[in-house]
């Protein structure tokens, strides 16, 4: 049975002047999948994510996200996705509830829909006592978990996580990945970029980018077998090494 595709990318090219940031990328992402996106800095990850999120237009090629064309209807894409960046994305001077209400509102939810969901969310996260606490007085780990919960609060089809766990302690990272699994189990596709190679092992499939191209794309175990590496980290160092090394 053919799995449902939520992201379809075919021959995506993005040029900035003479520089080719994305060089003929082709890949599909399926519904409910955890899709890892790896690459060294400058490999073209950020450019690709920006196009997939409707922030930037492809120079050429076909990009469909949640069924909408990234070149022609980026605004439609934005309504169907969630996003969380490596940089903290909640407002420090607003309370937990106010942040949730803000993002719910921005994504077109009414207060009637937001209120009960907020209660469920807070009790599920064991956050109920923090509802009226300012974000600034929460510990970083909680903030990060909450930021993720807010990013999927409006039940997007896909959530993009741009290095969501940088600067977070191992225990919180662990809990964070549990949340990612739960989210994927709800049918929300998770598109995640990361620097932590051990995290790549948690993904259903992994893409490795180098110098604007996709150099590997498969399940973590298949990739390890193919390149006879014991871990994704080793594999990454093998195939994503920049041609000219600088110290």
């Amino acid at each position: 049975m053919e799995r449902e595709k939520v992201i379809e990318v075919e021959d995506l090219v993005k040029r900035f002047g003479a520089f080719v940031a994305n060089d003929h990328l082709t890949f599909d992402v399926y519904k409910g999948e955890i899709f890892g996106f790896l690459g060294a800095n400058g490999a073209g990850k950020t450019t690709a994510i920006r196009i997939l999120c409707g922030l930037s237009r492809p120079t050429s090629g076909k990009v469909l996200v949640a069924g909408f064309d990234a070149g022609r209807s980026p605004e439609e894409i934005k309504k169907h996705i969630g996003y969380m960046s490596q940089r903290f994305s909640l407002y420090d001077d607003l309370t937990v509830k106010e942040n949730i209400e803000l993002y719910g509102g921005i994504y077109g939810m009414t207060m009637k829909e937001i209120r009960p969901r907020t209660e469920t969310l807070l009790s599920r996260l064991d956050f109920s006592k923090y509802g009226d606490t300012l974000i600034s007085s929460l510990p970083l780990g909680l903030k990060q978990k909450l930021a993720f919960a807010v990013a999927v609060f409006h039940d997007p089809e896909i959530v993009f996580l741009d290095e969501p766990t940088s600067g977070v302690d191992p225990i919180t990272r662990r809990q964070f990945w549990e949340m990612i699994y739960e989210t994927a189990a709800r049918g929300i596709t998770v598109f995640v970029t990361t620097h932590y190679m051990d995290e790549a092992e948690y993904c259903d499939r992994v893409t490795i980018m180098n110098e604007g191209r996709i150099v590997a794309l498969d399940t973590p175990s298949a990739l390890r077998g193919k390149y006879s590496s014991s871990s994704i980290e080793e594999l990454f160092v093998k195939i994503a090494r920049p041609k000219t090394e600088t110290v």
Partner: protein, 373 residues
């Protein structure tokens, strides 16, 4: 619209939760009004004056020559009747009108004393008191030379000073328009640039841009609360001016508010422009202060009369929106001038506003395309 309102609500929360913002918004204007209520002294040179010579005899022309010969005055106009005085002041170029009485020389000989009226534009109290002071001195000097002539029985010319628009010469009158000009630049330009740059610095801008909110909704949502609060601010300042200093608005309040709205719009677009050029809040503050506040404070004619500036500064002040706005509200508030007297300044301001809006919208778009980093 719902999305937009959720966003605007958040902006209000930001403002009301940050006591520093509230201080800048509301305590500062009050403090400035009170502080600037006390005059700053300045010098005059080549102040434009007009003469209404009802005498046309040797004494009056002598005295006019003396005034002209001094480096303080330049006679720009000879009036023909008292009715001209009002119009000439409303135009705002002339700082002072000197009125010589009929048959000046003859009465001086016959009665031994005459009175010369010195009428100054009281809407700029600093300039007015300086100008009248110098004029009085020159007339007294001249009067003294007459008495030394033999065969005359101590003829005296009495200078009589009167103020147009501001009869009690309250110097804080001129500061109210200045404070409004300054506060609006501060609140609108500084605060909007900081609030937008803050989103960039904290990385929340990215999240907003990825959301279904359109970029224009983000920008309008950011500035809308400041537009609203600035209007409240203007009203608070006007009420303070009225109740604390007894300065009523002589002209149309509707016109005054409309002009303020235009200026607020201009300042807001300046703020957006600043925010597109810097990435750190400190830089936004520095650029707003040095690039916008200081020139407005020093060169808009708010403290130092533009006539006294060296030529270069004079021209430079023309590109400052504040200069035009100070002229507008001074005319409307203190002189009670209607739109016909300020349409030119309004036009300049409107063109500037349009220019800054287009420029900042364009720069904002370019930034989006280039990416946030």
């Amino acid at each position: 619209m719902k999305r937009f309102m959720a966003f605007v609500r958040k902006e209000f929360l930001h403002i009301f939760r940050d006591y520093r913002t509230l201080i800048i918004l509301f305590a500062l204007p009050a403090a400035q009004i009170l502080i600037f209520g006390y005059a700053v002294r300045t010098d005059i040179s080549n102040a434009s004056i007009a003469i209404l010579d009802n005498a046309r005899d040797e004494v009056s022309s002598d005295l006019a020559l003396k005034l002209e010969a001094s480096e303080f005055f330049a006679i720009k106009d000879y009036l023909t009747s008292y009715d001209d005085i009002d119009a000439v002041f409303r135009k705002g170029k002339i700082k002072e009108v000197v009125v010589f009485p009929e048959d000046m020389a003859a009465r001086l000989k016959r009665e031994g004393n005459v009175t010369v009226s010195i009428i100054a534009d009281g809407s700029e109290p600093n300039a007015a008191s300086l100008v009248t002071g110098y004029t009085t001195a020159i007339i007294n000097d001249y009067s003294a030379t007459l008495t030394q002539q033999p065969g005359t029985s101590v003829p005296v010319i009495n200078p009589e000073v009167r103020m147009y628009f501001n009869p009690n010469l309250k110097s804080h009158f001129m500061f109210v328009p200045g404070v409004i000009t300054l506060i609006l630049i501060l609140v609108c330009a500084l605060m909007t640039s900081v609030t937008i740059v803050r989103e960039k610095e904290f990385g929340t801008m990215e999240v907003l841009l990825v959301s279904p909110l359109r970029p224009w909704q983000i920008i309008v949502g950011k500035v809308a609360p400041y537009f609203f609060l600035s209007l409240i601010n203007v009203i608070v300042i006007l009420l303070m001016a009225w109740f604390v200093f007894g300065l009523p608005v002589r002209g149309s309040i509707t016109l005054l508010i409309a002009e303020c709205m235009l200026y607020i719009l201009m300042a807001l677009s300046l703020g957006i422009l600043v925010s597109t050029t810097v990435n750190k809040m400190e830089n936004a503050i520095i650029v707003s202060f040095i690039g916008l506040m200081l020139p407005t404070l020093l060169l808009s004619g708010f403290i130092f009369p533009i006539e006294n500036m060296p030529k270069g500064y004079d021209y430079f002040s023309m590109i400052l929106p504040g200069r035009w706005f100070v002229e507008i509200i001074r005319s409307v508030m203190i002189k009670g001038a209607g739109f016909v007297y300020v349409w030119k300044q309004t036009l300049v301001l409107a063109v500037m506003t349009l220019f800054f809006i287009i420029l900042s919208a364009r720069k904002f778009k370019v930034r989006l395309e280039e990416g946030s980093k």
